[in-house]
């Protein structure tokens, strides 16, 4: 009861700091994600006429493809996009660093390594079915948390040079993880450990409801746990000492951001591999169209991330039908030039 009134109060405060134009942008973004969701559900190597299905006038095959294959895939891509978007925005806020993308700084790689290690080493331990479904994302979440905490400790020590060191650590962690995953995929005969391509480039293919449901649960909790920190993320931009004087419990905020972002990224990576640049591109686009305050930025990044990821997955399914491009290839194709542009922009005083 107490926590629910507290949440309600936090929500009211957050709403008060949204401008009218930002609210209208959020509504437009929500509409866009819904539109993307509908389109992506109906288009593919097998066309599903949504209208006919809603009217109950569809063939059995169409229904099966929709419910068992298409829908879980589109929902997963939306969730992963939303999770990576919010995680990117929150990490950028916490680190006060516009280049903090879960992929670039090695958080996704940590998660992938955690997941791959669990599949190879730990799958024998898995007993119950339910536990197994949760244990894989948890292993990934642990991997991601480890990397974020390490980054935080490292960049603290380096003060204002933190930006550079964060990216360098990211390069190192990415390299370590890709070597380890590479070895694991070649050594392992386990059919469960998917190909190297899956981990490094990502894919939403082949997802099923039993795996998807816990992921929906985990990612949504992470997102909703991050949203109320918006105002504190704004205030921390003044610097940690200043935020502390304004009554922000820095330690609590750090834990909240670090573990929620790790959870969102970890669960995403466990199910769909590493998909780069979404956490970088999405928050920046959201800032460009609507502003930098996190009350707006966090939900906008979630909605925009969902739309972008659904679209990227749709493209990956359509370009070389009936085969598929890895979805990470598409996000990287969009993201890497954007990253370069950002670096050039940062170089300006």
């Amino acid at each position: 009861m107490k926590s629910s009134t507290k949440l309600l109060r936090l929500w009211r405060i957050n709403k008060a700091f949204l401008s009218r134009s930002q609210i209208s942008i959020l509504i437009k973004l929500a509409t866009l994600s819904l539109f993307c969701l509908m389109v992506a559900t109906s288009i593919g190597s097998y066309e599903i006429p949504l209208l006919q299905i809603m009217l109950g006038d569809a063939q059995l095959l169409q229904q099966i493809v929709l419910i068992e294959i298409r829908l879980p895939r589109v929902i997963l891509s939306a969730l992963v996009g939303a999770g990576l978007g919010v995680a990117g925005a929150s990490l950028q806020g916490l680190f006060r660093n516009p280049l903090a993308d879960p992929g670039l700084i090695g958080v996704s790689a940590g998660a992938a390594l955690g997941a791959a290690l669990f599949i190879v080493v730990g799958s024998g331990v898995t007993t119950g079915f339910i536990a197994g479904v949760f244990l894989l994302p948890i292993a990934a979440i642990l991997g991601a948390s480890f990397v974020i905490i390490m980054l935080y400790l490292l960049t603290q020590g380096f003060g204002h040079q933190g930006v550079t060191y964060m990216l360098l650590v990211g390069i190192a962690v990415n390299a370590i993880a890709s070597v380890a995953i590479g070895i694991l995929t070649f050594v392992s005969t386990d059919a469960e450990l998917r190909g190297l391509m899956f981990w490094t480039m990502g894919s939403f293919g082949g997802v099923t409801w039993p795996v998807l449901l816990p992921a929906i649960f985990i990612i949504l909790i992470a997102i909703f746990y991050l949203l109320p920190s918006a105002r504190q993320l704004d205030i921390i931009q003044l610097g940690e000492p200043e935020a502390y004087r304004l009554g922000v419990n820095i330690k609590k905020l750090k834990y909240r951001i670090i573990f929620s972002s790790a959870t969102a990224v970890g669960a995403s990576v466990a199910l769909s591999g590493m998909i780069g640049f979404v956490g970088l591109v999405v928050p920046h686009l959201a800032r460009l169209i609507g502003g930098v305050n996190h009350n707006y930025l966090l939900p906008a990044s979630a909605l925009m991330g969902a739309s972008l990821m659904i679209t990227a997955d749709l493209i990956s399914r359509l370009v070389i039908q009936p085969a598929e491009l890895p979805v990470g290839l598409i996000t990287s194709a969009i993201g890497s030039p954007f990253f370069l542009w950002l670096i050039f922009r940062l170089r300006r005083p």
Partner: protein, 257 residues
Amino acid sequence: MTICTKEIFLSINGVEILKNVSLEINEGEILTILGPNGAGKSTIVNVLSGDITPQNGHTYYDERPIDSISIQERAFTRSVMSQIQPIVFDFSVKAIIQMGWLDRGYAAYSNDYEDAINKVIRECEVQDLVDRNFTHLSGGEQRRVCFARALLQLWRPSNSKEPRYLFLDEPTANLDLAHEIKILNLIKSKAEEGVGIVMVLHDLNLANRFSHRVVILKKGEVVGYGKPEVVLSEELLSSTYGLPINIDITSNIITYY
């Protein structure tokens, strides 16, 4: 309410920063901290605001040790303005000022928000800056905006009797002459409203003119504490700064060059 420190000893990395510092600040009073670089002036501000816990001695808000006061309640009682860190994202000036509007203040006086922020913007004369990007402002302009933020944090309805304190670490740094005097007059008028003020200044004449009491620090120790006309003597100032300092008796102007 009275804020006081009792017998503060503080060392950082084995270096003694503060030695036996006891101070007291009352509501409506301006206490100015003077002293050479490295004397521990900013550290005292940090101890008073509760950022640093000294090895020995305590800061008390009335009889309550500061450790027993939640950081939210501290923020509601005192606001601090010190050197700012560079801001990375493109926040508008208004958004920066808004950060002084605490959640607790919001809960208590949500309807007064527009009035409060407009009053603060008017008082600090930052109307022309409000819609600009904070990172594009000059150092002095940024300072004035931060001062506005600190004032918004202390805004209360006019009938409020809640204690308020303002801690300012070099509030006039980077300001031109006109803005320096304006901000000091504003600080004075805040003191007249009942806000207790602690500020670190370098300009001895301004300290002399605007403070009710001054404290002079040298190497972490209090070497002078009391009314400026009593404490600010040629002898004490000269020995503190290691520089011949003269005070003109008729005009009461301090010169050192």
